[in-house]
Amino acid sequence: MKKIIVIFAIFTSFFFLAGTNAKACELNNSVPVTSLSAGFDAWKVVTSAMEECGNFTPTLDQEYRDKLVASLESNPSQFTMAGVSASTNVSVLDAGVTRPLDDLVAKYGDSLQDNQKIVIDGKIMAIAMMTNAQHLFYREDILSDLGIDIPTTYDELLKAAKVIKDAGVVDYPLGGTFKSGWNLGEEFVNMYLGFADSFFDGNMPAVNNNDGYETLKMMKKLTEYMDPEYLTSDSTYVQQQFQQGKIALANLWASRAGAMDNAEESTVVGLVKFASAPKAKKNGKPASTLWWDGVVIAKNVTDEEAEAAFKLAMVGLDPANLGANPEAAPWLSNAFDPAPSNIGAILTAKSGAAPYPASAKMSTLHGVLGAAIGDYLTGAATAKATLEKIEADYITAATEKGLL
């Protein structure tokens, strides 16, 4: 008897909890909706607000790009909606697996601003929610103790790193998202755009030049001040290095800035500040790329599901919800003031950093870069051989894809 009462109590408490949950969202969603997206804080903020409306199952996966196109391509689509970045949006656009959102925006999208609408040939294909960029994170206390100005160029950054190293106040002066693969490729892309403007000549690669050489050399100089295990270090690892007080400077994603002041994880609450990404050349632009993250809705779902998904997305992207979590990301909404942790991304954009040049050929080159540069950094290959290898590998891959 006792057991039955306990079970009954547990069940009723579930109902009670479910009841209170549903109240947090005014929309009562009755159509099952699923989503696939990356797993960083911003997506947690958005999807957890959507979950409160019921019948919504998010999949948060940092490696979401591996299954994005394949899962939306199937009919019916495996996910009703997806979270994409500037780069993965190209892959779903090219595959034609997302639907135009103009009708839905007209009906339910009053809270959206124009700069949130990703318009391709006149059709709204995605709703952006935030921008993202790698920019400078620095330990304010260490810099002021040692009398170092905030570095604005990479040469200054290296000088600062040397001073910090000599002072011996942290394990390693610099952190970097140099994990071989996508992360390492992105580091090259960022740095290269600090030296040059374009990666391509038509569909042919144009990185085997002096700018490419300078980029590689600068990357190698940076690694000398990093944890020697840099080829296994991704965004989460660098974030933790900061949180545990092991590094003093790093170019890290804006979406990681909020975590610096998370008292549950961080031992350096209030000490990490943000600035624009340093420039590669004195009068150049910041060596960083601007990204956006946003929502798309699958083509291979019913109109009813798409409508429900869009309505849910509007709950997740509601300025009230985003405004309650301003530190999670540089949100695009103008309805509230950006959090101090977003200042780095804003400054980087203002100093003229280039948007990530997303395209099929860029994705191909990005993959090649991520695989080839490791050998140069560890000293197994020369800069010249590495640039030649990048060019040759790109041509092989692009020929195979039919780009050349």
Partner: protein
């Protein structure tokens, strides 16, 4: 047995093998001679995002009336193999500057082949010798202890390979517990994941640790069938422990040693879990990892099926070459037995 009965009994397994082994192999072989391409067109596209609008000339896949990409398989002969093996680059390296390993290493395939072979042949003797020693030790234990000890020894083999690799990595990466321990003992800053050879040693160690139980169980079973009278007779004749091992026990379990070697060679030539588990791809890659890497979708939503198939075929050829000596030996023995 009547021919028809034989056919009826073997037919299900024959159909299954054709369907799930022969057919996929054939498809892989065909794909390795093809480029799997999207039909592309170059268009002008206006793209507005939070950073402004721009019109760009881009190459995009053509979609059919249902909105699907149009795929095209083009026969390219040995092009995929050429792209992987890079014979011209190889021959230029060898003829121009003498034999320079670092330059050959810059070609992914040879880098992967080098690691795969080292991995396979260094772990093999360790697995067999340590597995045999373990079996001999457990065999002389008192019966009460045997059960628990066998259970404990089997544990590494039960763990899912990737999970095992990850846990070993976490013990050593950055300021992992064991790295800190080593640093304390040696009074030196240690970074095991900052260069290739240390990761390689960790990977070798992990594979040996993980596979020994398999060898142990097989050898232990074999030791139960050794003729006790023969051992006693040898003992009476004055053979010491080592001689008994060499002239009676090892010949007796030789077929098992060959069997373990065969399985281990096949298994470790397909080394893959370690590369992923130890995040080693920046330093060391294996042939199977190359296949996986080609099959991964990049941001543009495409993958290199042709080159992936070609590496698979090359891996298969490699395994066959490695197994030939062992298989020949087994074949010969079978023949002798029949005579």
């Amino acid at each position: 047995m009547k021919k028809s009965t034989f056919l009826v009994f073997t037919m299900p397994s024959f159909i299954m093998m054709t369907l799930f082994i022969a057919l996929p192999l054939l498809i892989v072989l065909i794909q390795s001679f093809q480029f799997n391409q999207d039909v592309l067109e170059t268009i002008e596209r206006e793209n507005c995002d939070p950073f402004g609008c721009k019109t760009e000339t881009i190459t995009v896949p053509v979609l059919d009336e249902n909105g699907n990409k149009i795929k095209n398989n083009i026969w390219v002969g040995f092009q995929n193999y050429k792209n992987i093996l890079k014979f011209e680059q190889l021959s230029s390296v060898i003829s121009n500057d003498g034999f320079e390993w670092s330059k050959i290493r810059s070609i992914d395939f040879y880098k992967a082949l080098r690691f795969t072979l080292t991995f396979t042949f260094i772990t093999l003797p360790f697995v067999i010798i340590l597995g045999l020693i373990l079996a001999l030790c457990v065999n002389v234990l008192i019966n009460r202890l045997k059960g628990p000890i066998i259970f404990i020894t089997l544990l590494p083999f039960i763990i899912t390979p990737v999970i095992g690799a990850l846990s070993i990595k976490w013990l050593f990466i950055g300021d992992g517990i064991l790295t800190l321990f080593l640093e304390n003992i040696l009074d030196k800053d240690i970074a095991l994941f900052s260069q290739g050879w240390t990761i390689e040693i960790l990977m070798l160690f992990y594979r040996v640790w993980h596979t020994i139980p398999f060898a142990f169980v097989i050898f232990y079973a074999g030791l139960q069938t050794v003729d006790k009278e023969k051992i006693e007779a040898a003992f009476v004749d004055g053979a010491n422990r080592l001689q008994r091992l060499r002239f009676i026990i090892i010949p007796h379990i030789m077929p098992l040693i060959v069997f373990v070697a065969l399985i281990h060679l096949m298994d470790s030539y397909r080394v893959f879990d370690e590369i992923v588990g130890f995040s080693a791809s920046g330093f060391r890659i294996s042939l199977q990892w190359m296949t996986y890497d080609f099959l991964r979708i990049d941001d543009s939503g495409t993958r290199s099926i042709g080159r992936a198939s070609a590496t698979s075929v090359l891996t298969m050829i490699g395994i066959i070459i490695i197994l030939i000596p062992v298989l020949r030996r087994t074949f010969k023995e079978q023949k002798e037995k029949r005579l």
